[in-house]
Symmetry: C2
């Protein structure tokens, strides 16, 4: 069964908002066995919305739209859909009552704009939204389904999981899609492709391999589509097991595992703890760990030692070392890691110090020069990274590499080469 996703909003076409909804919806539909064949974005123009919806309905069984259901004048999706499906607007009593209650609970006046949120096309079935004032709307025509969802991500997510996917399962008989994805970190794409070429060539023809390079490593996805027999999932597992033997230290995990979640799992399982001392990553490395629920099981905290005085006063880095080697040096990275290990009493401590850019580079230490270190009770390991010119990318890559160094130490291979970047 095929689906198309349409995102509605001028804000996307002028690039003020990144569309994260489509990826999330696509992932959930794929999990449910629905094959997403395309996504499209259109502006708030009624004609553009109508044309995109008609085109999508002509080419897919299910169309999901997000956006354009807000209380303000620029949101016109539901009027367009009422016209397309040939019905008028009515006030939905349940939505009206729910919205009045919800706003009262939050101390917000129930004004005309809020009240208009309860007006919906008569020919749709409203999907109750407990997190916002715009209900989802389920339309059917000629065996096909169109669902309009609000654009606010957590409202959309709730409605998709609780209302849309269960209804789609009832409405269609859904065929099988299997995806499994391996996360690798520390090997260049061309090197990886060469290293695994023989394995790739020997894959059964019904297994489809894709490379997904990204800032947090290259992921390898094996997929099957349609009816390929009951053994497909087991075969995917067997193939990945073979691949693990070819590139053992580069395999981080499966299906969304990241370097930081892999480290989190190992530390939690061992009952050990982690602390972080960050200079150039400025909080981003800690945030990677604390973004995952359960972080308090192993993550004690850390110090963002942006200013040199914080490095010396809080972490105990020797100011003579900074004077002699510079704040961006192996010596300072190692003292930062050892310092936060001492300060927090953690079992492992990760540090970063570097020049994220765009300013601050010198001929000897250009922008992108980063030292990372990991200290533990038996010693300290450090690496020099030579990254690029872009600040956000340098912060992201340095964070991922620093977390990966702790992963390599945890798996007992602290000296495995690590390449960070996309080449």
């Amino acid at each position: 069964m095929d689906a198309k996703i349409i995102t509605i909003g001028d804000e996307i076409l002028i690039g003020q908002i990144i569309d994260t909804n489509s990826a999330w919806i696509a992932a959930r539909l794929n999990d449910a066995g629905v094959h997403v064949t395309g996504c499209a974005t259109v502006g708030d123009e009624p004609q553009a919305i109508a044309a995109a919806v008609e085109e999508a309905l002509a080419n897919a069984n299910v169309v999901i739209t997000t956006g354009g259901l807000g209380p303000t004048k620029d949101d016109r999706t539901k009027q367009v859909l009422a016209a397309m499906f040939g019905c008028g607007m009515v006030e939905d009593a349940a939505t009206h009552a729910r919205n009045e209650r919800m706003l009262a609970a939050r101390g917000i006046a129930y004004n005309e704009l809020n009240r208009a949120q309860a007006m919906i096309p008569e020919c749709c079935e409203p999907l109750p939204n407990p997190h916002g004032t715009a209900p989802g709307m389920w339309f059917e025509r000629g065996g096909k389904v169109l669902v309009a969802l609000p654009g606010v991500p957590f409202e959309m997510k709730y409605l998709l999981d609780e209302e849309v996917v269960p209804r789609l399962r009832n409405h269609f008989s859904i065929s099988e899609i299997t995806h499994k994805t391996m996360t690798t970190f520390g090997i260049a794409e061309s090197m990886l492709a060469e290293t695994i070429a023989a394995w790739e060539t020997a894959l059964p023809s019904y297994l489809h391999l894709a490379y997904l390079p990204g800032p947090s490593g290259i992921r390898l996805r094996l997929s099957t589509y349609g009816e390929v027999g009951t053994g497909a999932q087991e075969e995917v597992g067997r193939q990945f097991a073979k691949l693990e033997k070819i590139i053992p230290d580069y395999v981080v995990g499966y299906d969304g595992e990241t370097v930081s979640s892999a480290v989190a799992k190992m530390l939690t399982a061992r009952g050990q703890t982690l602390a972080v001392a960050e200079s150039c990553t400025g909080g981003a490395l800690s945030a990677r760990f604390t973004a995952l629920s359960g972080a308090s099981e192993y993550f004690l905290g850390g110090v963002v030692a942006y200013d040199n005085a914080v490095k010396t006063h809080v972490l105990g880095v020797d100011s003579a070392t900074i004077e002699q080697h510079g704040a961006v040096s192996r010596e300072v990275a190692e003292q930062m890691a050892a310092g936060v290990l001492r300060l927090t009493g953690s079992d492992y401590a990760i540090s970063t110090t570097g020049i994220a850019g765009p300013a601050g580079g010198t001929p000897e230490k250009p922008v992108g020069t980063v030292w990372i270190a990991v200290a533990h009770n038996d010693g300290v390991h450090s690496r020099l990274l030579t990254l690029g010119k872009l600040r956000d990318q340098n912060i992201e890559r340095a964070s991922a590499a620093a977390a990966n160094l702790s992963r390599l130490i945890l798996i007992g291979h602290p000296d495995t080469p690590m390449r960070v970047g996309t080449l």
Copy 2:
């Protein structure tokens, strides 16, 4: 002049990657006066790529594609385009030489996969890519332009800015588009709409207003399209100046200004400094400040005090206070802020402590309960936030609200009400 953007890759249709390229390209094209009328995403299937490109070329003057130019077998965009434009593949000597040099400099072997990156359709003009092995490709047909760019964001960005936009300016005569966007923070969308209704109704008809709600506040955009006379830009400025008088404390700034960049500007201008003590935001608040270049001008650093022992030992929070009021309390938030102010000697210090979820809630302090505080030499201010159930959203909103509290103090209005969320 109209443009369409096409993103190519199965990884997007199964939701494994969020397409950030389209928003970035759309923003740059809009700045250049090119009106983006739609975006589409297709998989790596040759037929789907060809159909999407043909459809886009039929409806727009310019089509930009990203993705599908990698060295691996699943990337087939350039073969599809060669077939569509009716030419064969040739090795581009300049790309070949550049890639060989680039890989040698990074110590990567130049293998067959890398060499294949220099093969390009004979009918395109290659756009040299100094950051990766896939060149951009510029095609022309019937006065229209198609540009194929690699999907790796920083390679794509470089090529768009350095090659594509300058060439488009030469190739087309580009009409005027004006956008200006005000960032607001701390007011609910329905309340905002009601408060500014009279101002909105009185806008000149050629000014188009849009509400852009997001986790970091609601932005208001005024746009003009086409030829509207030379005074349009001034009128946009005048209208926003009027609006500032209606909602003064909620206006953060313009055109991408965020709460943290506004705080950064004020502190830098005053020569004052900031430090941060984070519990539930776990580094995300620091990362917001350090993501901006120039952070070292005012940002000293901070402590991620995830574990209570870090709160007491490093920040000097009284353990009896934690015992009596709990780690998530006004008292602990205020002591954390005061503690990091003392520790770093900063002029201002922000703190957060809360229950991000999904676990850790109690009937008295459910998930989403967060205390934030800001300390400075003249005292400390704190607020209770009542957020939602979602961990990532709670971290994001608590970080934005905490930064906004420091903004309100910096503008001298520490007691202005603040609502965080989308209702």
